[in-house]
């Protein structure tokens, strides 16, 4: 077991894309954790200096100021906290809800599983963002509601994924032999099936984090995200719209921040796929 993990770790370190992805994510985490120390003006998250509004980047405000005169760099650093908590909690709860549903439905089959899958179909019948907007709008703008809207609309994806994976290995010899040896269903699911589909889940979690950050930013952009004065990246971009083309810096910085983080998760996901999930290798035969 340890040997295989060591091999995996070695592969990971050998994969430039995955490493780069991991470092981008590390950057995000550092920004979020040390935002108060890194920010030149930590108070600017909730403090305005209307006389300083819309200043282009200079030696004081490295990324310029926004429409209320707050330092954009400080706000972006604090915004990392919002982004990371939305992504972690939303994807986390979607996974926690979707995986057991998919596992049970895939393992037992029959009409309850059909029903579950049909329910997930309902959610998948329209673009996720539309339902997320509708739910976020209903609940009112707040970080908690964005998280709720994203997890409610995202769990069916995981249920579907795990359902398909479970179905495909349910009839494998090692599962059948475990059942024949009298293992309980719970034990079979937890000890035999789950570990074998874990890599697929991990890979998609990473990519799903990126996708969720994009959707959350879109909600913020449409005015349904964290309410002001929260330094939410999508909202900052929306705010900047009416100040273009003069305030070119206003949208640029939060846009690049989103890009870097999503890129990080996508690269990491790609790398992990190569390492963990040989069936769907990005470049077939690349490691051969």
């Amino acid at each position: 077991m340890t040997g295989s993990w060591r091999r995996t770790a070695a592969r990971f370190l050998g994969d430039r894309a995955a490493l780069m992805g991991a470092s981008l994510i590390l950057l995000l985490v550092l920004a979020a954790v040390f935002a108060p120390l890194l920010s030149p003006f930590p108070a600017d998250v909730a403090e305005f200096h209307t006389a300083n509004r819309l200043r282009p980047p200079d030696g004081v405000n490295w990324l310029g100021t926004d429409r209320m005169g707050s330092d954009l760099l400080s706000r972006i650093l604090f915004g990392a906290r919002i982004t990371i908590s939305i992504a972690l909690i939303a994807v986390g709860s979607a996974v926690l809800l979707g995986v057991p549903v998919g596992l049970v439905a895939g393992y037992y089959g029959g009409w309850p599983s059909d029903l579950l899958m049909r329910v997930s179909d309902i959610f998948l019948a329209v673009p996720q963002i539309v339902l997320a907007i509708a739910i976020a709008q209903t609940l009112g703008p707040s970080i908690e509601n964005v998280i709720l809207a994203l997890s409610i609309t995202y769990w069916p994806f995981w249920a579907r994924l795990v359902y398909a994976e479970t179905r495909s290995i349910k009839n494998e010899v090692f599962v059948e032999s475990a059942i024949a040896l009298g293992a309980s269903s719970l034990r079979v699911m937890a000890m035999h099936i789950l570990p074998n589909i874990a890599s697929a889940i991990i890979v998609r979690t990473s990519i799903g984090m990126g996708a969720t950050i994009l959707t959350a930013a879109a909600l913020g952009f449409l005015g349904l995200g964290a309410p002001p004065p929260a330094p939410e990246w999508g909202r900052m971009i929306a705010e900047s719209r009416e100040f273009l083309p003069e305030a070119w810096w206003y949208a640029t910085a939060p846009g690049i921040a989103i890009f870097m983080v999503v890129m990080g998760f996508n690269l990491l996901g790609d790398g992990l796929r190569d390492i963990l999930d040989p069936r769907i290798r990005r470049a077939v035969g690349r490691h051969a």
């Binding site: 403090e47 209307t50 006389a51 819309l54 429409r67 009112g140 309410p227 002001p228 705010e239 003069e246």
Partner: protein, 514 residues
């Protein structure tokens, strides 16, 4: 095939060339909201004023700034001593677009239609005119019989827009007063005839040459009002020459940008459009005058007006616009003072809870004023939550006592030129559930407002409205911020725009190209 390709290239070249080939005499206006309905009795908002004002005529008409009421379809009027009977003499020989003559019957039909369909401006008349009470003793005389004296009746008469009764009746369906038909068609005497209409795009009007009021020598042959929601597109289109005009309430940053362009002119007028925080006075702790005063002291008026709006507007300390009678000249209003805010807050007896502001999505001034207040209020210990929503949503919630937000930063525009439009409608309990969003129920204030409506004595009315304005301001029933200036952006070659706070300068019959 080859020809298609050449045509395509030619088309692309034509698209790339600067747009100078506009039809002579066509004025294109970019509007910031949609024209989903042309029925003059169904709509009554500032955003869609252009279709009402350019397609329809009333008995009287508002023009210029300060606004003047001039006889229009009527040539004169008289009022009885008790202020209840109003007799209008109509002009003779006024033609509808279909050539038939406009008579008193059309006026009677129009007011009955408003009272029956109960939409748009009808709420101005429902309380004072009973259906069937308006008479046409002869072809050119109309008599309105009011239930009670109403000093503002004359200011609201221009809102009774006259439709062609015979034509509308011919298009009635299941007793709908022709609502379905008139939503997409025009039946009037108005300055322009409807040429083309698409609710998603806008309308084109063609000059009605036989209009009774006559025409200037260079008046536009065609006017087009197009819906362009995005501010930046309107501004860019104006610079490029695609549009000859757009709305005069753009964010000031955009006005500054437009001022640098040679082919654009900015007309300036002091408007009557008060920006204020509507405060829900009927709910604790906002029903406590000290809490409201604390909020009024916690708004940074100078920072907002001078920094965020770059001094483009004038401070307006009370509910009535400064440039209208009924606004006390010496009214001081509140100033930003957190110490005083804390002192007021200390006197509040009810427990203090977090306050919710409903900001108008897409109107950055509304959102920025909300964040500014939120920030300062936090320093004195009031938590504020901001929810942004589109205007329709905000408005529908404001009309409901329970669902209303605690505060809403917004504008009160001119629907008719009388202090009652501001202090009366916003704080008089007779307007509860319609335009009184403050849920204010103050007997003293009500008495002043009702007395001012019941008399035609101008000096008395002024005194009453000034008293009302003082009380509303002093007790911070709203947080009053500024009165808007109108910066009308037009192509440099447009002349003759007659701005009036009603219609915001969109009455195109007076304008032309140089």
């Amino acid at each position: 095939m080859k020809r298609t390709v050449i045509g395509l290239i030619a088309a692309l070249a034509a698209a790339a060339a600067p747009a100078v080939a506009l039809a002579q005499g066509k004025y294109v206006h970019a509007n910031n909201s949609g024209y989903d309905n042309l029925d003059p009795h169904a709509i009554y908002d500032v955003g869609r004023a252009a279709s009402r004002i350019n397609f329809y005529d009333g008995l009287y008409r508002w023009v210029d700034n300060p606004p003047k009421l001039i006889p229009w379809l009527a040539e004169s009027h008289t009022a009885s001593a008790d202020g209840k009977t109003w007799t209008f003499k109509l002009k003779q020989g006024v033609k509808f677009h279909d050539g038939s003559e406009m008579t008193a019957d059309d006026v009677v039909y129009s007011i009955e239609r408003m009272l029956a369909t109960k939409k748009g401006a009808s709420s101005l008349f429902i309380p004072i005119i009973d259906p069937g009470s308006t008479k046409a003793p002869d072809k050119y005389t109309v008599v309105f019989n009011l239930k009670e004296a109403s000093a503002i009746f004359m200011s609201t008469v221009p809102e009774i827009l006259i439709v062609n009764a015979k034509l509308v009746k011919a298009n009635e369906k299941d007793g709908d007063w022709g609502q379905a038909w008139l939503a997409k068609n025009v039946a009037s005497t108005g300055s322009y005839k409807l040429k083309r209409y698409d609710p998603a795009i806008g309308f084109v009007g063609e000059r009605f040459k036989e209009h009774f009021a006559g025409w200037g020598p260079k008046a536009f042959d065609e006017i087009e009002f197009r819906t362009v929601l995005e501010t930046n597109t309107r501004v860019q289109g104006l610079i490029k020459g695609d549009f000859q005009g757009t709305d005069g309430y753009l964010p000031y940053d955009q006005i500054l940008r437009l001022k640098q362009e040679k082919n654009v002119q900015i007309l300036e007028q002091e408007s009557m459009r008060v920006f204020y925080f509507s405060v829900h006075n009927g709910r604790p702790p906002l029903n406590d005058v000290h809490f409201r005063r604390a909020l009024a002291y916690a708004f940074d008026y100078d920072g907002f007006i001078n920094d965020i709006l770059k001094g483009a507007v004038a401070r307006n300390p009370g509910p009535n616009p400064n440039n209208l009678w009924g606004a006390p000249k010496d009214l001081k209003g509140f100033a930003f003072d957190l110490e005083k805010a804390k002192a007021e807050l200390a006197q509040v007896k009810e427990p203090i809870r977090p306050i919710t502001i409903g900001a108008l999505a897409g109107f950055s001034e509304s959102e920025q004023s909300a964040t500014l207040l939120q920030n300062a209020a936090k320093k004195v210990g009031i938590e504020i939550k901001i929810e942004s929503a589109p205007w329709q949503v905000i408005q529908s919630r404001m009309q409901d006592r329970e669902k209303n937000y605690d505060l809403v930063p917004l504008w009160k525009s001119t629907y008719y030129v009388d202090p009652n439009n501001w202090v009366g409608e916003l704080y008089g309990s007779r307007y509860l559930n319609t335009r009184n969003y403050s849920y204010n129920n103050d007997p003293e204030l009500d008495k002043w407002i009702n007395d001012a409506l019941a008399t035609n004595d101008q000096a008395k009315r002024q005194e009453l409205y000034e008293k009302a304005a003082r009380k509303v301001t002093d007790e911070a029933m709203g947080i009053f911020v500024y009165n808007t200036k109108w910066y009308g952006p037009y192509a440099a070659n447009v002349v003759g725009i007659r701005f009036c706070p009603i219609g915001s300068g969109q009455d195109m019959r007076w304008a032309s190209f140089k």
